[in-house]
């Protein structure tokens, strides 16, 4: 685990390495078959979403089941900004952050009156409420099941001012003519991911972050010391809501369409899974988890019967048929089944996430190799285990 006392230099190295890794993604993802912009945008956006969720769940331990609501709010705000102001993504993102932060403040104000499961249930209820409203009464704002999209007939005030009012073909968000799809779109998301990561590192290292950890460790004791924890938790909730709103807006920057299904509880569950898969409470874990989930979603959903037959072609005919039909349950349309199983497996066997799994492996390796050589080996590793 990253210690609060880690030096500024190690953070700088971490951030530098992360920046390098993100910016060179179009290169090193090619051999993995994921080097195309659409998917990398998803990595960046959901990475951002998970980083924000981690600030709440990883630091304070408050398990929110309603973060998809903020993702949806961000998306709708962004599309409305496109419709009214124009296709420039910057005002859209800022408005989305602002509005989702406001939503998070209202929802957090009520939900944070309770802790533990009550909190989870309340956030889940709020998210379902937003989802229901988006589908029914708020149809004038959200366009219901069809989803909200930008039309050529929309006002787009700023576009008309700068003479971009009349566009042939589909409307794509752009910064002064640079269209936000393909690689520029990815780099735009990547820049936001880096900003989000940097802010997250700063929060992790700040006294505020320390206070959030204290809430997770023992809230009662904090209360007894005379500290009111609620403002801290609420701030963390609002910050993570803003991250979610930003992620939702970025989704619309790359594809200007917002639908209510983004707010469903499955979406809230997905971000929880990303965070715990990578390792809640770690800096890099959530991004890794988000990347893994989106990568495997991409791979698994693309599978269909024929690819399965190709893969299992070496098996005898009768066996092949059985294997293919069983495997067919888990891919393509059945991707959610895999997701659910993955969820259970991770929680049952690796509740600390992949980063803790890797750390355990490293420790085991170190102990087995160094244990016989050094007499004080155990004493030497003990402080690390206590991190």
């Amino acid at each position: 685990m990253t210690t609060p006392l880690a030096t500024a230099r190690s953070d700088l190295i971490l951030f530098g390495a992360f920046t390098l890794a993100v910016l060179t993604m179009p290169i090193w993802l090619v051999p993995l078959g994921a080097g195309y912009p659409d998917l990398m945008q998803k990595f960046a956006i959901y990475g951002l979403f998970a980083i924000g969720f981690n600030i709440l769940f990883g630091l304070t331990g408050y398990l929110s089941f309603g973060h998809a609501a903020f993702l949806g709010v961000g998306s709708y705000t962004a599309v409305w900004s496109f419709k009214l102001l124009g296709m420039n993504p910057v005002p859209a993102l800022l408005l989305a952050i602002l509005l989702s932060g406001l939503f998070a403040w209202v929802i957090g104000f009520v939900s944070l009156r309770r802790t533990g499961i009550y909190f989870s249930i309340l956030t889940l209820a709020f998210a379902q409420m937003c989802y229901n409203l988006a589908y029914s009464v708020l149809t004038p704002i959200t366009n219901g099941e069809t989803g909200l999209r930008v039309l050529n007939s929309d006002p787009r005030a700023l576009d008309h001012l700068t003479g971009q009012g009349v566009v042939d073909g589909p409307l794509v968000s752009n910064i002064f003519g640079l269209e936000m799809n393909g690689l520029p779109g990815f780099y735009f998301c990547a820049v936001w991911l880096l900003i989000g990561m940097y802010v997250s590192i700063r929060i992790f290292r700040s006294p505020f972050g320390l206070m959030l950890r204290a809430i997770k460790t023992n809230q009662t004791r904090l209360n007894y010391t005379g500290i009111s924890t609620r403002p801290y938790a609420l701030t963390a909730f609002v910050i993570s809501g803003m991250y979610a709103g930003l992620a939702g807006a970025l989704l619309c920057v790359t594809d200007p369409l917002a639908g209510a299904e983004r707010m469903q509880w499955t979406a809230s569950g997905e971000v929880v899974l990303m965070t715990i898969l990578g390792g809640a409470g770690t800096l890099l874990g959530p991004v890794i988890g988000a990347g893994l989930i989106k990568y495997s979603e991409n791979i698994f959903s693309a599978f269909h019967e024929q690819t399965l037959h190709d893969i299992f072609g070496f098996l005898p005919d009768g066996v092949e048929g059985v294997v293919v039909s069983v495997a067919g349950l888990f891919v393509g349309e059945g991707w959610h089944l895999t997701l659910g199983l993955l969820f259970m497996v991770i929680v049952i066997f690796l509740p600390g996430g992949l980063t803790s799994g890797v750390r355990q492996l490293v420790q085991m390796a170190r102990r087995s190799s160094g244990g016989s050589g050094r007499s004080g080996g155990d004493a030497g590793t003990a402080p690390q285990a206590a991190e």
Binding site: Y118, L138, W265, V272, G340, L341
Partner: protein, 342 residues
């Protein structure tokens, strides 16, 4: 006056479903200390028990009649459910009453499912943090609902109530209203009576049997019960099975009211959680009372008169009530001190 009475009646069946699910949730939470996000999936599985039973007893024997030809020149197919050819009129009756008959199948099935869930998964999570319990049962809920989706498809599968109960009762006449003012479908009445019976049965079981006494004692103070030399873990499996049966039966009987589909479990689960929170975590009477209360409130909110003043109120009324309750009375309506405080 008649409108008010009608809305109360309308809320009763939905309230009954909420109460039954919330009852199981509270039972599991109170005794086992586990927050079961897969409880809604049990409700859904119950509903699909009814679908399966209906499909199984509806299996048809297809014979070709060579003497009669269809306009296309092929022999006319005569379809006759096996059960009718075996049992005659009784078969027709069973087919007609397939939903109530499914209860017989649902009880053992739900007990087995409950046992498997508790022994296979939940028992390993008693000592782990609530967050992990929530997450693992959440994953389980996704898995169960996806399995149902692959098996039965994504579309709702409407089930029909028995022919005799398809019409509506003119209840208003009984209490002095003019005929036709308060008309209420028989099946909803049946559902209300059924849920009241099940709730009564569960309470009687808890109040009158020794086993129930141990369970109640366990809900009040698990540690002391353990200290008294009672192996409470052994009873947990049964309690979980009981909760599964209650949720499953609620699902079976609800199928004629709401055509079951794979995500009905989660829809009801979220509402039932709110019901539990409003009623007070760990309080069985609270869960039941809040279930009916919120069901009735919801039906009032869907009146056109109310909706014209506050559009969309029917969608959010339950959540609004929950928010108000939590702000005013954080412990819930009938919640006890010390249960899941914090």
């Amino acid at each position: 006056m008649d409108a008010i009475l009608l809305q109360i009646l309308n809320g009763l069946d939905k309230g009954g479903a909420y109460a039954l699910i919330a009852l199981g949730l509270t039972l599991v939470f109170g005794t086992l200390g586990v927050v079961n996000f897969a409880h809604g999936a049990l409700f859904m599985l119950g509903a699909f028990c009814a679908v399966t039973v209906n499909q199984v007893i509806g299996l048809e024997q297809v014979t070709l009649d060579p003497n009669n030809l269809t306009p296309w020149g092929t022999p006319v197919e005569i379809r006759e459910p096996y059960i009718v050819s075996w049992l005659g009129d009784t078969g027709h009756l069973i087919l007609d009453y397939s939903v109530p008959v499914s209860i017989l199948a649902a009880i053992p099935i739900m007990i087995v499912i409950g046992f498997i869930m508790e022994r296979g998964l939940i028992q390993f999570f008693y000592k782990r943090p609530h967050a992990e319990q929530i997450l693992v049962t959440f994953g389980l809920a996704i898995v169960l609902q996806e399995i149902i989706k692959t098996w039965f498809g994504a579309n709702p599968l409407p089930q029909s109530p028995p022919t005799a109960l398809r019409s509506a009762a003119d209840i208003g006449v009984l209490v002095g209203f003019n005929p036709g003012e308060i008309v209420y479908p028989y099946w909803r009445l049946v559902y209300f009576v059924f849920s009241a019976l099940v709730i009564g049965g569960v309470f009687a079981f808890l109040q009158l049997t020794t086993f129930g006494m141990v369970v109640r004692a366990g809900m009040a103070d698990r540690e002391t019960v353990g200290l008294l030399g009672i192996d409470i873990e052994k009873r947990f499996t049964l309690v979980f099975g009981l909760a599964a049966v209650v949720a499953g039966l609620a699902g079976v009987m609800y199928t004629p009211i709401l055509p079951p589909d794979y995500h009905m479990g989660m829809d009801f689960l979220v509402l039932s959680f709110v019901v539990v929170v409003v009623g007070g975590m760990g309080s069985l009477p609270g869960a039941v009372a809040a279930g009916f209360l919120l069901g009735i409130l919801q039906s009032f909110a869907s009146m056109t008169e109310v909706k014209s003043i506050l559009p969309g109120i029917d969608q959010i009324i339950i959540y609004l009530v929950a928010v108000v309750i939590l702000l005013v009375r954080p412990r819930g309506l009938l919640g006890r001190k010390g249960v899941m405080e914090g």
